[in-house]
């Protein structure tokens, strides 16, 4: 009797293991909330959900797309009140408040499955809090310096690799009557990107993470050194004027019109730059230069994620959706140039032929040995991110106020990390 039960259980296990990819007979409703409100990502997501629906005809899938900015505040309400079965969000500290409040489902079991364990190893860390995984990544993208190749050629410049070269290049660009970098800091986070790179290059990845975790004083000399490096570019006139009034999109025309030569941005800036008329002969990419030669290079690569709310009703179907969305095949499709135009998270997928994606993928997989950060406002706690990015903006406008700004941030650190 006992042995018979064992065998049936084993048979069932084998059967289900084989049955899962074919059809797990999922039924009921599956509600999916998305923040991919821009036209292209929206179409990509809807097409992917369509393919998932074809595989599971018994499932009634309902998709709600919410404006990306509005989503950031609405998520608190819907996670507690009327939770969907799957919701998009961001990795690292950005998901911590929800994890700590018990609003996200622990999906460590998915990572225990061999297919997922192998395929998703690279983003597992970003989704881990307290040794458990709370969601899966579905896309990520590189950051770096996008620049006008034609302007560089005109001025006889080449892609810099060291801080000295970067500054020398910038000097020549400024002398030609242009700004080196365009940036729009109205919504603050763009300044966070600059701080990420300058601090990671000056003091290294571990120091940067310690600072984000509140373990280092903002008045530390090493932090000051980061700002001193930044100040060199500011004093040179490296950044466009009045950047505090522009959004990141409003800063694009400066580069398109050739009034600025480069933009430190995420790969999502490529699409609007191409739409504005820049060809691939005019536009190129280089990794942010080395500053401190003793420090290993590390990069920002923000990851967008899927989570299952703890209050979800159809968790079985939601798990199946997560498996589907991260499968090698789907990852290749949704991240290709026609869709999201970003990097796939599954090791088994292939990266699109787009030159920026190829460069970015190579950079992240071979030349980012120090570590991979999410982004300042995802690595630091929300409050600290807000206060500090405001400080970065103020510093970029009034670099002489550095001491006052840092003492303000240090006060905030004392209050925020308890």
């Amino acid at each position: 009797m006992l042995s018979k039960m064992k065998t049936t259980a084993a048979a069932a296990a084998v059967a289900s293991a084989f049955a899962v990819p074919a059809s797990a007979e999922l039924t009921g409703d599956l509600t999916i909330f998305l923040d991919t409100s821009n036209p292209a990502p929206r179409a990509t997501m809807e097409a992917m959900i369509g393919r998932f629906g074809e595989k599971h005809p018994g499932l009634n899938i309902e998709t709600t797309v919410i404006d990306r900015e509005a989503y950031k505040t609405q998520i608190r309400n819907f996670l507690t009140a009327d939770a969907p079965d799957v919701a998009t969000w961001y990795a690292a500290n950005r998901m911590r408040p929800y994890v700590e409040a018990g609003l996200f489902e622990d999906v460590s079991d998915l990572y225990a499955e061999p297919a997922m364990a192998e395929g998703l190893a690279s983003t597992k860390g970003a989704l881990t809090i307290d040794d458990k995984q709370w969601g899966v990544a579905y896309t990520y993208y590189q950051w770096g310096v996008y620049y006008r190749k034609d302007i560089f050629a005109e001025l006889g410049l080449s892609e810099p690799t060291t801080w000295e070269e970067e500054k020398a290049n910038c000097g020549k660009i400024v002398a030609s009557g242009r700004a080196c970098y365009t940036i729009g800091t109205k919504y603050l986070w763009t300044a966070g990107g600059w701080f990420d790179y300058l601090n990671m290059r000056t003091n290294g990845f571990d120091f940067h993470m310690d600072l984000a975790a509140g373990k280092v004083s903002w008045e530390d000399d090493r932090v000051k050194q980061t700002f001193m490096n930044w100040k060199e570019l500011i004093d040179m006139g490296g950044f466009i004027a009045d950047h505090q009034t522009y959004s990141w999109q409003e800063a694009l025309p400066f580069m398109v019109k050739g009034e600025a030569a480069a933009y430190l941005m995420g790969n999502f800036a490529v699409a609007p730059l191409r739409e504005a008329g820049l060809t691939d002969d005019q536009l190129d990419f280089y990794q942010f230069v080395k500053i401190n030669p003793d420090v290993a290079l590390s990069e920002d690569a923000p990851t967008d994620t899927f989570h299952i709310p703890a209050n979800a009703k159809n968790k079985e179907a939601a798990r199946e959706f997560l498996r589907f969305a991260t499968s090698a095949e789907e990852q290749t499709i949704i991240n290709n140039g026609k869709n999201l135009g970003q990097l796939p998270v599954n090791a088994g997928s292939s990266v699109d032929d787009d030159k920026f994606l190829q460069q970015g993928f190579k950079m992240l997989s071979t030349n980012s040995t120090g570590g991979v950060a999410q982004f300042w406002d995802r690595d630091a706690p929300a409050e600290m991110a807000k206060v500090s990015m405001e400080g970065f903006q103020e510093f970029m406008v009034k670099p002489d106020q550095l001491d006052k700004i840092l003492s303000k941030l240090e006060r905030a650190r004392g209050r925020i990390y308890k």
Partner: protein
């Protein structure tokens, strides 16, 4: 028959007190909603301001520590101080809408062909949404393509980045706010002017009053009710200024255009805000400031009614 004769003896309690109960019955829905949506939330806010709560997990009682932090922010000239200072600037600058509205009303209060069209054109900014007003003015001030800098260029001035300069930004936003608020005050005065007694003007004219003297001694006293309402709506409007700040600058650059209402939203409900208790404490402070004005208005209205 017996049943009918019983009625006068056992006349129901409702019937006996109908006169007294009726007004309360009519008021009941209003009172109920006012209590649920206004009175009770006021006490809830005050209660919440004594807790530390991220809006998701458990709330922790912290006594008056939120207020203490606000005090220190005030001492350190931090965000709370800036918001409070900006609120005061708003309060005074916004009052300019009253004389401006009066001036336009006097100007438009004539019988010319097509005056109705002019009046509606002047009233137009009040009809469009504050969001649109904010956007229009952001474009006007925009340093790269804004009309303001083009105009300043004609007279060889500028360029000036109004919304990017921490000393100008609040004034820039208030000017945007004055545009619809002036229209509002204008419409209040236009209605008031309709009620001005022509006989008194005639009498004044016989006594030789003209121009400013006529305005000050004859017209303005008769416009008192309109002025009173204009004051009330403008002061309340200045204190609850939020939409323009949110649309035009999001409190920036580096937080220098914050006002209390926006700061409250920022710390409690915005993208990076998770401090419900702290937000509630700011709300309580704002409520207290508003209460001073509201109490004064109510008191003067009460006095007025008693006088008549």
């Amino acid at each position: 028959m017996t049943v009918a004769s019983d009625i006068p003896e056992t006349e129901s309690w409702f019937h006996k007190n109908q006169q007294k109960i009726a007004p309360w019955l009519f008021l009941a829905p209003g009172i109920l909603f006012f209590a649920v949506y206004v009175i009770i939330p006021i006490f809830q806010s005050f209660n919440l301001s004594l807790y530390e709560w991220d809006g998701l997990g458990k709330a922790e009682y912290v006594g008056f520590s939120n207020y203490e932090q606000l005090y220190w922010e005030y001492v350190d000239r931090d965000a709370f101080f800036i918001s409070l200072k900006n609120n005061v600037i708003w309060l005074f600058m916004y009052l300019l809408a009253i004389p401006a509205g009066l001036f336009i009303a006097l100007f438009l209060n004539q019988t010319v062909r097509g005056i109705r069209i002019y009046k509606s054109l002047f009233f137009f900014p009040f009809v469009i949404s504050q969001v649109v007003v904010g956007l229009v003015f952001s474009w006007f001030y925009n340093p790269s393509f804004g009309l303001l800098n083009t105009m300043l260029d004609w007279v060889n001035l500028g360029p000036v980045n109004v919304l990017g300069d921490e000393n100008l930004v609040t004034y820039g936003i208030i000017i945007a706010g004055l545009w619809p608020q002036t229209a509002y005050c204008m419409i209040l005065y236009l209605t008031g002017l309709n009620a001005v007694d022509p006989e008194q003007i005639e009498a004044g004219r016989l006594d030789g009053a003209k121009g400013v003297r006529m305005l000050w001694h004859i017209i303005l006293p008769q416009l008192r009710p309109a002025t009173f309402i204009a004051f009330v709506v403008t002061i309340i409007g200045a204190l609850r200024s939020f939409d323009l700040v949110s649309i035009m600058t999001e409190g920036g650059p580096f937080g220098s255009s914050r006002v209390l209402a926006y700061y409250m939203f920022e710390v409690a409900l915005s993208e990076y805000g998770f401090r419900m208790g702290y937000g509630a404490a700011i709300a309580v402070v704002l409520f207290m400031i508003m209460m001073c004005f509201i109490a004064y208005f109510l008191w003067s209205m009460y006095r007025e009614e008693k006088g008549h």
